[in-house]
Symmetry: C2
Subunit: 496 residues, 2 copies
């Protein structure tokens, strides 16, 4: 065996272990009986210990050193990417002392409960000490990993390798400048979407309909499932992709678009090279790239006129009575509703980006020390007022709404908006190549789009990270201009 | 840490790993997308290797030696049982060479496919070489484990520790002698049950009904689930018990009694001491004991008049139209139908025992050399004719019907009948203590019976093996007499 083959064997075992842990996690969110969580915690801990041991195997370190010491590095960009990510994974697994990892895990657990209680009681001050401690630990972790001078960049790198706060800052400030007036224009328009007109959509029929839609988009149900969970997600990998959605008889669009969003993630997973799931060539390029896929399918494709020209008759024949009094225009407007909503996860694709910009700027200031944790709620509220015209009524619908910071997940939010930018950029690129693409959608055919994404995004795995992937797939640097163009084209004609 | 505590810690890790492997197996049978089996095979192999490594940890051997070398063994029968089973598990994991284990696994896989093809083609001769090889490997394995002079006893011991072929032979010959004329009498009776009168029972309503029934028996759905699989089974443990059933609109009794049978297994698992799942005190006493629980609930309890006095009105109100033309007597007779059926898994609780006796006698003769594999089909058919009056039309409904032998699972069949014997014996013991027990059933209350089983069977875990458990719980040696008495009392009045 060559050192590269030996490394590959170890990576395959790690991948197998991680896929098992993934199934435990999926089952926990979907099927686990309510009182069986105790055993699942124990099983999760068992798997975590085995995975940690596998990732810190000193043999991996030796193999990497051997390969890296070769006088000439590999010419192949694929092998370069495999080695790059293997080195990052090994270093991150080995350089953090066990005591640090343990401290961090304990804090996550304590902070989660503190956050849940603080949100319930509308009391940010009860959560503040945990957030402070998380910031300290994040900086401490950066020291261990050699990122001591750029702790927030490290957090970003965890989610979008190769990305950093300065680059995001430039992208977001361009976006913000153009988006704020667009949001204002839409919100002030006399046209208002109504989303409260959907009542009594039976769940079995909703399930049948969304399975038909997601299968037509290309999701391979022979290598995947959709089940029910509290919050929709997509887990597993291309060998066995497990999506979830949730159902509400009075909110069929939520179930449908949640499942389409997760289908976008699932299509990406199913498009990654199956033979390379164990290394960079078969893994996603990062969270931003992942989100670009879910958003592209959810927004650009499935909120389009052409999509609904095909699916509206089917939707009406599945729910004839429920849709009786709702006109085509009302339906389409509801699908593309924009409103002032203080809650990120309930907000539409236009305002959503500003929710993210606010969070990014806050995280950046928290890490730089420019903003103190104590001052966070006031700053949060002032930003919501300024950018969105929203006055959160309390911390629960303000600074305490998201779970992320309780788990020390900084640098995670920006990915959502980076994904929106890439989605729009991909959208115009493929449309340039196939100007009649939307005619496919009118026939319920999404295969040309999927093939294009397979070839230009999925097939690369993590060979290229976000910025490079953007250049490879769209021929351009990632920027906010396509997203702005798309939002204007889609929404301004509706809100006049 | 004392050596016993150190052993316990290792056992807990093994238990955790086995519960994870169990979930993978459950998911494979219930939910796994059809093309995702490739990844599951890989995950199963990963877990099997980790479990093997954990079970053969030399530290376990050292700890056992330390504990066993103490001048006085423990007085506590619990600790004795823990050590006894830990020693057996360690020896069985370590004494078989890796090459043997690999050979055996390969043979199982090859023999399974050969069996499936042979059954399809009605051609026993295509399977015969694999069966011969399995017999050879079983004997070879017995040599490694120090059972070289009693290879069939070892097979039995795998499934029912402490049991052996001579004991079973005595039990079964007593049973056979009395049961054959009873079967004959029933089969020849003018009364014949009709099971083809159940048509069009919608599956959602079937599911609701059987969940109500199984919950009322005592199955804790907060620590368990019931899902759908090709063949019903019960997996998991008391912390998270996963049962399955299957549905057929024209065979509601099959779904119902399958799920009740699995509930019997599930109640046993849920009754084992949760804090001891990792050692003998929290494990089942063997397959016979397990089967006694499933059979007791399925047959003695849920095929009884008293049970149906309570549930018939509920069954009718769930399926008013479907049961319209079916009288109470017809329903009850269908629930207790007895018929000549060449297939074991489709047979009733009366004739079932003879299917088992035939298989046991064949296995014994195959191991002793008294019967050659070549002569097996003829011998099988002659036994079916003699004991059951059945002429199998071909090998597929004869000697090739069961999957067991293709996996080298000898000594497995007897447990089913041993379970029936113990079930009947437990039934008369509890009835002696609570002569009005069936009045509870009339009210849909099964808690007194469950409490009795919890105390007299479940609470012991594997502290006592089958024969000793029988004495502890029923005050008597295990014997065929209670089973004969029960079958006579239940069936002779029906078939006159």
């Amino acid at each position: 065996m060559t050192p590269l083959e030996a490394l590959s064997q170890k990576q395959k075992r790690i991948q197998s272990l991680e896929s098992i842990a993934g199934l435990l996690g999926w089952d926990e969110q979907t099927l686990l009986p309510q009182d069986s969580a105790d055993q699942r915690q124990d099983q999760n801990a068992t798997m975590a210990a085995i995975i940690h041991e596998a990732k810190t195997d000193p043999e991996i370190g030796k193999l990497l050193e051997q390969i890296e010491a070769l006088p000439h590095g590999p010419d192949d960009t694929g092998i370069q990417a495999v080695l790059r990510d293997a080195r990052i994974e090994y270093d991150r697994a080995t350089k953090l002392p066990a005591s640090y990892v343990e401290q961090h895990a304990r804090l996550c657990s304590e902070a989660y409960h503190a956050w849940a209680a603080a949100r319930k009681n509308n009391d940010f001050s009860a959560f503040a000490p945990y957030l402070k401690r998380h910031l300290e630990l994040a900086k401490e972790g950066a020291d261990y990993l050699g990122w001591g001078d750029r702790p927030y960049d490290l957090q970003i790198d965890f989610h979008d390798p190769g990305m950093d706060a300065q680059t995001i800052g430039t992208l977001f400030s361009g976006l913000k400048k153009e988006l704020v007036p667009i949001v204002q224009q839409i919100i002030e328009a006399p046209t208002q979407a109504r989303t409260d007109i959907f009542k009594g959509f039976p769940i079995p029929e909703q399930k049948t309909f969304l399975e038909e839609v997601t299968a037509s988009l290309g999701f391979n149900y022979k290598r995947g499932r959709i089940d029910i969970s509290l919050h929709p997600f997509c887990s597993g990998n291309g060998a066995d992709t497990r999506m979830t959605t949730r159902f509400d008889e009075d909110n069929p669009l939520d179930s449908l678009f949640s499942s389409i969003h997760e289908t976008g993630h699932g299509l990406y997973e199913q498009g990654l090279p199956l033979e390379s799931l164990h290394n960079a060539l078969g893994k996603a390029a990062g969270m931003g790239a992942h989100e670009s896929q879910s958003r592209l399918w959810e927004n650009q494709v499935c909120r389009s006129r052409s999509f609904w020209n095909h699916y509206e008759p089917k939707f009406r024949s599945a729910f004839p009575k429920q849709l009786e009094g709702i006109s085509s225009d009302e339906l389409y407007l509801a699908i593309n509703s924009v409103s002032k909503n203080p809650i990120r996860v309930d907000s539409d694709e236009v305002t959503y980006n500003l929710h993210i910009v606010i969070r990014f700027e806050i995280e950046k200031k928290l890490f730089s020390g420019e903003l103190r944790v104590e001052d966070l709620p006031d700053y949060w509220n002032s930003q919501y007022k300024e950018l969105l015209g929203i006055d959160p009524r309390n911390d629960a619908e303000g600074v305490l709404q998201d779970v992320h910071w309780s788990g020390g997940a900084f640098g995670y939010f920006p990915s959502y908006c980076l994904g929106n930018m890439l989605a729009a950029q991909l959208w115009y690129t493929v449309a340039e190549e196939h100007s009649d693409l939307e005619l496919d959608f009118e026939k319920g055919d999404f295969s040309r789009l999927l093939s294009w994404l397979r070839k230009n995004v999925h097939a690369h795995g993590a060979r290229y990270h976000l910025m490079e992937l953007s250049k490879k797939a769209t021929g351009k640097e990632l920027s906010h201009t396509s997203l702005i163009r798309y939002l204007k084209e889609r929404y301004l004609p509706l809100y006049t």
